[in-house]
């Protein structure tokens, strides 16, 4: 067995990769706002609690097979045919989710920042940048993750501080009002979008150093990322109150309200910067995992020949898959969280269980790295 990726990442780098990845979904918590309204903060915490065991199972699985990615693991656990089928499911998920995320960037820019520029232009430029970044390998992404995570957290905390005088914490009351089914769907969205998508790391955790302390670092990264999302959700509800459900992007609207002595205004560019950087990071990790998975399943020695073709396909899908942001939200809120569910919540724990029962990988091919 040969490995396509030669690079190795350290434990702390893994922490920042996970954290940056989770924060990359900061725009997507708006899907939950539509469901959970003022209880969004609760939904984030509940979603986090539900996700923790699953994320631990991802890390434990990857730790059990050091130096391997999920495509190789599937082959070992489920045999060649079933393993390949599951891998194709995994690749399908990466493929579709990546195009949705690229589309998010296009929507962000055409709605808020540069409405006169063609949509496809943003998609192409953004994906080209991602392609450039991933072609440099995981080590480069890992090194830059510190910067991105700090940017994300800095923006969420600084905008929160600047908005303190506009906050009304009675907006959270009454604490429990919505019917449970909406909260449940909100939790479902949180589990399957920002937290469950960390399943991408099944392609990455394997390349952590031996002393990387994988489970602890993955979990800390998840918590750090969730903390940032939590701050954003609390800020939006406290500032916007009942109106937070009508905006396309509550984060933009709440930072547009910043007005410190009429000098410090129009701070929504901060959110624009942070969201661009974080989604870029998330898309890079998705793209990287996709490239690695596809080239692994095709038996290629390097993923470089796939970078440009896949990038082109992703751009085309992103540009044509939905008619409007409404379509996008409708599909993601209702269908997207269903098709990804078995992949996130069933297969990894099952794989781990089978590996434990069959005492893999010690009995077979355990020394191959």
């Amino acid at each position: 067995m040969t490995n396509i990726e030669k690079g190795r990442i350290s434990g702390p780098q893994l922490l920042f990769l996970v954290s940056g990845f989770v924060q990359g979904s900061v725009m997507l918590i708006d899907f939950a706002v539509g469901m959970a309204e003022k209880q969004t903060w609760m939904v984030i915490l509940a979603g986090l609690l539900v996700s923790i065991p699953f994320v631990i199972s991802y890390a434990a699985l990857a730790k059990r097979f050091p130096g391997m990615n999920v495509i190789q693991i599937n082959d070992i656990i489920y045999g060649r045919i079933l393993g390949k089928l599951l891998s194709i499911y995994y690749i399908f998920f990466l493929f579709i989710t990546l195009s949705f995320n690229i589309r998010d960037v296009g929507e962000l820019y055409t709605i808020f920042l540069m409405p006169n520029t063609p949509f496809i232009f943003f998609l192409a430029v953004f994906t080209a940048t991602c392609a450039y970044a991933v072609s440099r390998g995981i080590e480069v992404l890992a090194r830059i993750s510190y910067l991105f995570v700090i940017t994300g957290i800095f923006v969420s905390i600084s905008t929160t501080i600047l908005l303190v005088d506009k906050m009304d914490f009675s907006n959270f009351l009454p604490l429990f009002e919505l019917p449970f089914i909406r909260i449940f769907q909100g939790i479902h969205i949180m589990v399957s979008i920002p937290f469950g998508e960390t399943i991408v790391f099944l392609m990455i955790i394997g390349y952590t150093n031996k002393d990387g302390n994988v489970i602890k670092n993955t979990l800390s990264g998840l918590l750090l990322g969730a903390f940032s999302l939590f701050i954003v959700a609390v800020r939006n509800t406290a500032v916007l109150g009942i109106t937070q459900t009508i905006w396309t992007a509550p984060s933009f609207q709440s930072t547009r309200l910043i007005d410190i002595g009429t000098v410090l205004t129009r701070m929504d560019f901060l959110v624009g910067i942070a969201q661009t950087v974080l989604i870029f990071f998330k898309c890079c990790l998705f793209f990287y995992a996709l490239l690695l998975a596809v080239s692994e399943i095709l038996g290629l020695k390097s993923y470089m020949p796939l970078v440009l073709p896949l990038a082109g396909i992703e751009v085309i899908i992103a540009a044509t898959v939905f008619q409007s942001p409404l379509d996008h939200a409708e599909i993601t809120q209702n269908a997207g969280i269903i098709y990804s569910l078995p992949l996130m919540l069933v297969i990894p724990p099952l794989t781990l269980l089978i590996a434990k029962i069959r005492r893999l990988p010690e009995s077979k091919g355990g020394k191959v790295t």
Binding site: I111, F112, M114, P115, N116, T117, F121, S170, L173, P174, F176, E177, L240, G241, I242, T243, I246, Q253, R256, L257, D259, T265, R266
Partner: protein, 388 residues
């Protein structure tokens, strides 16, 4: 080495070209009409929307004081257009301006009296949806024609719209009105019970020019304007909302010979809703610190007994202001204080039973006002100057 250096140099040269903006989206400042204020009124003849936009004439800004040549050279241009909706009218305006309107610096949105009485819901969507608009733009209701408000050239400011925004921001000096921005307005509008309020602006004829004057607040029931609060009533509202910054409290002197002006230094409000055997009681606790700013009476009020007496009267004055606002809101069945939301937040289970007939319950609310007033200082005098 030289190859990478050349590459870097080429990249550096390319970056300014590639990053300087996109084709087709580039807009020069002289191709934009910068809008600082907008007015929405009803066209009396056709019943359509009559939109007024105040556009800055860049060339005239700051030139008036210079050579004093053009006395009539205004720094603004009020363009009007009619349309079925606001966006329709805005695009209609390009027939007159030739350039696209740039509304990102819009400070005020003024609605005409007629349109406010018919309902603002249809006419507020654009200002929130348009990506250039800010939710911090102030909302006002014009007592007279909207175009008259935007036409009244202020004495110290060059742009009427900026002048109105400046007036609104000065609400803290009297607390006789309050600024309301689009986001605040729709927060109340979207609430099932709370009635929105918005400042009323009118034009008063001055000696040489006309003055803009904010006379009180308009009360809305859902999205329709149903009544007005005068200055005292507005302050009553602000006492309960805890939004008093400063202001002049006029109290009659204990000896009934003159008036005493107290300056409000700080006010704190706590409202506790209570539901007892189906009766709704609102406990309003107000702590207010004032200073003796002026006494227009011959009695010397700068004494301990004088202070005590004044505090008592002051408490009565504040209670009176609150009750005036409350009576007005009871009359209109408009929950301007947001009592409904307070009950909703505290008694969420019982709330479901009463929320549907809130309009009928509202007038039966008992207001329990407790004011604690303290006079903290008397400024420079320890005795009033009295003829010897």
């Amino acid at each position: 080495m030289t190859k990478t250096l050349t590459f870097k140099v080429i990249m550096c040269l390319l970056v300014p070209l590639l990053l300087s903006g996109c084709l087709g989206g580039g807009t020069e400042i002289n191709d934009l009409e910068i809008v600082v204020g907008m007015g929405v009124d009803k066209d009396k003849d056709t019943g359509k929307i009559l939109l007024t936009a105040q556009i800055v004439r860049e060339g005239e800004i700051g030139s008036n004081s210079g050579n004093g040549g053009g006395q009539n050279a205004k720094a603004f241009w009020n363009v009007t257009a009619t349309g079925d909706t606001i966006f329709d009218a805005i695009r209609e305006m390009t027939h007159k301006t030739g350039n696209r309107l740039f509304v990102s610096h819009n400070h005020v949105v003024i609605y005409g009296y007629n349109i406010a009485e018919e309902g603002l819901q249809e006419h507020i969507d654009f200002f929130l949806r348009s990506h250039e608009m800010r939710p911090t733009a102030f909302i006002l209701i014009a007592e007279c024609d909207v175009s008259a408000v935007l036409d009244a050239k202020p004495e110290t400011e060059e742009l009427p719209a900026m002048n109105i925004a400046k007036l609104l921001k000065s609400h803290g000096y009297t607390s006789h009105f309050i600024e309301v921005n689009l986001k605040d307005f729709i927060s109340c509008l979207m609430s099932p019970t709370t009635s929105p309020v918005a400042p009323i602006v009118e034009v008063t004829p001055g000696e040489e020019s006309e003055d803009i004057y904010i006379s009180g607040m308009a009360i809305f029931k859902n999205d329709k304007m149903v009544g007005k609060l005068n200055k005292e009533e507005t302050r009553g509202l602000l006492w309960v909302k805890g939004k008093i910054k400063s202001g002049v409290l006029l109290v009659p002197s204990p000896g009934k010979q003159g008036k005493i002006a107290l300056e409000i230094l700080e006010a704190k409000t706590k409202v506790t809703p209570k539901m007892e055997n189906g009766k709704i009681v609102m406990d309003v606790n107000i702590k207010v610190d004032t200073s003796l700013a002026e006494q227009a009476t011959i009695e010397n009020m700068t004494t301990l007994p004088g202070f005590e007496k004044m505090q008592k009267i002051q408490e009565e004055v504040i209670k009176h202001e609150i009750m005036a606002a409350f009576e007005k809101s009871k009359e209109l069945k408009a929950d301007i204080f947001g009592f409904g939301e307070m009950l909703h937040k505290k008694y969420s289970s019982k709330w479901n039973a009463i929320k549907d007939n809130w309009d009928d319950i509202y007038p039966d609310i008992v207001l329990n006002i407790d004011v604690k007033a303290e006079i903290k200082k008397a400024d420079l005098l320890v005795k009033a100057p009295v003829p010897g």
